[in-house]
């Protein structure tokens, strides 16, 4: 995927959402943002994006819900999952996401270049 395409970003943390949006916009992408899965789905229905970048832990509709809904409704949309969750206690969420069949996963914090390289490869 090349610059200039549309990305949908679902992230509950306002500052992270803003910083990622700015970074991606600086790389030339058109970015729509949502604070949870429902918002993301609503936005997608209005104006479909090619890639969904979603957090896992979000109140009112987490990343797994988003993945399920997008897989059903927008099977061609690529999904990148980012999470800060550790690999202890509640389990490895990124591994779970990979098993669920997402296109890429990224552990927070990450260098923007890594995310951009990932998006270019999709």
């Amino acid at each position: 995927m090349s610059a200039g395409r549309r990305i949908l970003l679902a992230e509950d943390d306002a500052d992270l959402r803003l910083a990622l949006k700015l970074s991606l916009e600086a790389a030339g992408y058109a970015v729509a943002t949502a604070a949870n899965a429902q918002e993301a789905l609503a936005l997608q229905r209005r104006e479909p994006a090619e890639v969904l970048v979603t957090d896992i832990f979000m109140p009112e509709g987490d990343g797994f819900e988003a993945m399920d809904a997008f897989r059903r409704e927008f099977p061609s949309t690529r999904i990148v999952v980012v999470s800060g969750g550790g690999q202890r206690g509640k389990g490895d969420y990124l591994a779970a996401a990979r098993l669920a069949g997402v296109d890429a996963t990224l552990q927070k914090p990450f260098e923007i270049e890594v995310l951009l390289a990932m998006l270019r490869r999709l």
Binding site: D13, D15, L18, A19, L22, F57, G84, R88, P109
Partner: protein, 717 residues
């Protein structure tokens, strides 16, 4: 060894000496009885013998009387014969009377007609010789008389005339006369009584008297008589019956009387005694063993059931005390077992509880670590992204400005997280000192709320503030921490679009801070537990579980209380903090300097570039003139060029520590009235103390916000 064998062994061990003793005593008793029996039998023998002697002496007396007849004085044999015949008729036991010369030549025999030739009887047996020798009467041995042809014996008496033995008068006596004497003694039916003559020939016998008359006595009796005149021996009768025999020889006749007492009778006494003793002992042993068996069953059965109860206890099964315990010790054992079972049960339960508590703590720790990782990584991700924006964007552009905003807020957010993390441990161990000052609670809360609103953290909620001025004696930083944590909690658990109400007011002697949200509320069982460390609500979506714990401890450190109320799940929650209120400062309180404060010339010495740039910007924004250096040497040089009004000094400088720098600046030319502010990473009371001693007017703990800096500068003289 079982209890039963012990008891049986004990019984036998006790009985055995008794049995031995009884056996010995019994043996002696039986011996004595036997001796008594023997003595009795011997006495009886003597009695029979005496009776026989008496019988013989009767004949002797009669013969003696005949011997004195005057007819013999003149050898008038015809007259004597006539008188003797008359006497014979009066003696039924006699069969004959004869008279012989001392050499044995008969001169008269009533069974032989007078005048007929008569045989010499002198050598018939030893009786003639004995009589001649002793001059006393003698009794002959048994013999079949030549005239009558039947067994008889003779009683002979001497006929003395002129001191000389002139004749020997003999009376032939029927042997069965002696048998009658024996019969008259009434011996027991199975006893044999026998009179034997000197030859050992049977004179009379109580059993089959006619058949045995004249027979030789048994060999054993004859042997015994050859040995001694009286005694006791075990032998056989002529019929071969085993008998004990007491015997005695008569002085009068030289005959002997012997009794054959069946051995079974004598031995019966002994064997009956021993049998009685044996049966008694055997009975006693049997009874004792039976008792031992019964007693052992009585003891062993409850012990066995207790043993199985103890085994069941080991497996953790319930223990039923065996009923009907008659033995005190066993009852005690049963009670002890029941007590142990109860104790084990309690301990098991305690272990289970502790295990559950440990598991819960472990789960809480795991969740805490997961949340910690999430909470720390999120701001780092935002910082990384913002740094990237700064790198690729026009510095003066809108994106860069937004990125700087992100960095500013996220660093602060992270600093607060780290401070909370570090504080929670120190607060719970009581290592946190409070820098108390009289302050307006509403103003502190308003400051935090304004800051949050500025960072967009309330964007998704309707925030309403209801603030009335109320004063407390508190550590400003800690109060801000309390407010921030309560707001954080409200934001976290309140769905977008719902309201959060914050109020500060006076209530009697208390200053009350109340944060009410319209979130998911609390479960009834959560109650006080939400203030526990690492405790996360059931619907925890984030947070480290330390915010509320920290709030509670900080409030308590200020002498206040915090409570959580909820009308139930989904109906929101209210957190109420009560702190002791103090009187508002009166007219003497210096008015807060209006923003911006008086412009000053500030010298900033800070080696961290980011911090220095931030502080420069903040100071410039406050209208102050700023000169800055990145080390102590640079700072001293700048101060020497022109003395500043205020020096802002980082304590941890690379070339010199801040305290030393402060002392040098104080003594520098033109710096006598210099006000100094310390910036440190350490907020301990001793750090503040040290700062004051070094001459600092104010001590600021990192991170220093523009607002705090503004306030600090405003307070300077």
């Amino acid at each position: 060894m079982t209890l039963r064998s012990y008891l049986v062994g004990l019984t036998l061990a006790t009985l055995l000496p008794v049995a031995l003793f009884a056996g010995t005593v019994g043996y002696f008793l039986v011996q004595e009885q036997r001796e008594t029996f023997r003595t009795g039998a011997e006495a009886r023998t003597l009695a029979v013998l005496t009776a026989v002697d008496t019988e013989l002496e009767a004949s002797i007396s009669t013969l003696n009387a005949l011997a004195t007849l005057a007819a013999l004085d003149k050898d008038d044999l015809a007259t004597f014969r006539d008188r003797a015949r008359r006497i014979l008729a009066t003696q039924p036991q006699w069969v004959n009377v004869n008279l012989a010369r001392p050499d044995g030549q008969q001169v008269m025999n009533l069974q032989v007609p007078a005048g007929a030739p008569l045989p010499n009887i002198g050598d018939l047996d030893g009786s003639f010789a004995r009589l001649r020798q002793t001059g006393k009467p003698a009794v002959s041995d048994l013999a079949v008389g030549p005239v009558l042809k039947r067994w008889s014996f003779a009683v002979r008496v001497p006929v003395i005339r002129d001191g000389e033995l002139r004749y020997v008068l003999s009376g032939g006596v029927k042997a069965d006369s002696i048998a009658a004497v024996i019969k008259a003694q009434g011996l027991p039916g199975d006893w044999v009584g026998v009179i034997v003559d000197r030859n050992g020939r049977i004179v009379a016998r109580n059993r089959e008297p006619l058949a045995s008359e004249g027979q030789m006595a048994s060999q054993s009796l004859r042997d015994a008589l050859a040995r001694s005149g009286s005694g006791w021996f075990r032998g056989h009768t002529i019929e071969g019956t085993a008998v004990y025999t007491p015997y005695r020889r008569s002085e009068v006749s030289g005959w002997a009387f012997a009794m054959g007492i069946p051995a079974s009778t004598v031995d019966g006494v002994v064997s009956r005694g021993f049998a009685f003793l044996g049966f008694g002992l055997a009975g006693a042993i049997a009874v004792a063993i039976a008792l031992a068996y019964l007693v052992s069953r009585r003891i062993a059965a409850p012990i066995r059931s207790l043993a199985s109860a103890a085994q069941a206890m080991g497996r953790g099964a319930a223990v039923a005390a065996p009923p009907d315990l008659a033995i005190g010790e066993v009852k005690t054992l049963a009670l002890a077992l029941a007590e142990s079972a109860r104790a084990i049960g309690e301990r098991q339960e305690l272990i289970e509880r502790e295990k559950r508590a440990l598991q819960a703590a472990d789960r809480a720790k795991d969740e805490f670590l997961a949340m910690l990782s999430h909470e720390l990584r999120n701001p780092l991700a935002a910082l990384t992204a913002a740094a990237h924006v700064l790198k690729v964007s026009e510095p003066a552009g809108e994106a860069s400005a937004k990125a700087r905003g992100v960095i500013q807020r996220q660093t602060k957010h992270m600093a607060r997280l780290i401070a909370d993390l570090l504080d929670v441990g120190r607060v719970s161990t009581g290592k946190v000192g409070l820098a108390r000052e009289r302050m307006d609670l509403s103003e502190a809360v308003a400051g935090v709320a304004a800051e949050w609103r500025g960072s967009g953290r309330f964007d998704r909620h309707r925030l309403s503030l209801e603030l009335a001025s109320v004063w407390v004696d508190a550590d400003r930083a800690r109060i801000e921490q309390i407010a921030a944590n309560l707001l954080d909690n409200a934001v976290k658990f309140t769905p977008a679009g719902r309201g959060i109400r914050v109020s500060v007011r006076a209530d009697g002697d208390s200053a009350v801070l109340r944060v009410r949200d319209e979130g998911m509320g609390l479960q009834a069982e959560e109650g006080e537990r939400i203030f526990e460390l690492f405790m996360q609500g059931r619907h925890a979506e984030g947070g480290m579980g330390i915010g509320l714990a920290l709030v509670k401890r900080l409030v308590e450190l200020h002498g206040g209380t915090v409570a959580a109320e909820s009308e139930g799940a989904g109906r929101g929650a209210t957190f109420t903090v009560r702190l002791p209120a103090v009187a508002a400062p009166g007219a003497e309180a210096e008015p807060e300097p209006s923003l911006p404060g008086a412009a000053r010339s500030v010298l900033l010495i800070e080696d961290n570039d980011d911090t220095r740039h931030m502080l420069e910007a903040a100071l410039a924004a406050g209208g102050h003139s700023v000169r800055s250096a990145r080390d102590a040497a640079g700072g001293l040089a700048l101060a020497a060029q022109a003395p500043p009004d205020v020096a802002l000094i980082d304590i941890g400088l690379p070339d010199m520590d801040g305290y030393e720098l402060a002392r040098r600046l104080r003594t520098a030319r033109g710096c006598e009235r210099l006000s100094m502010v310390a910036i440190t990473g350490y907020g301990r009371p001793e750090d503040r103390q040290r700062a004051v001693e070094a001459g600092f007017a104010v001590h600021l703990t990192k991170p220093v916000t523009p607002e705090r800096l503004r306030r600090a500068l405003a307070r300077l003289p």
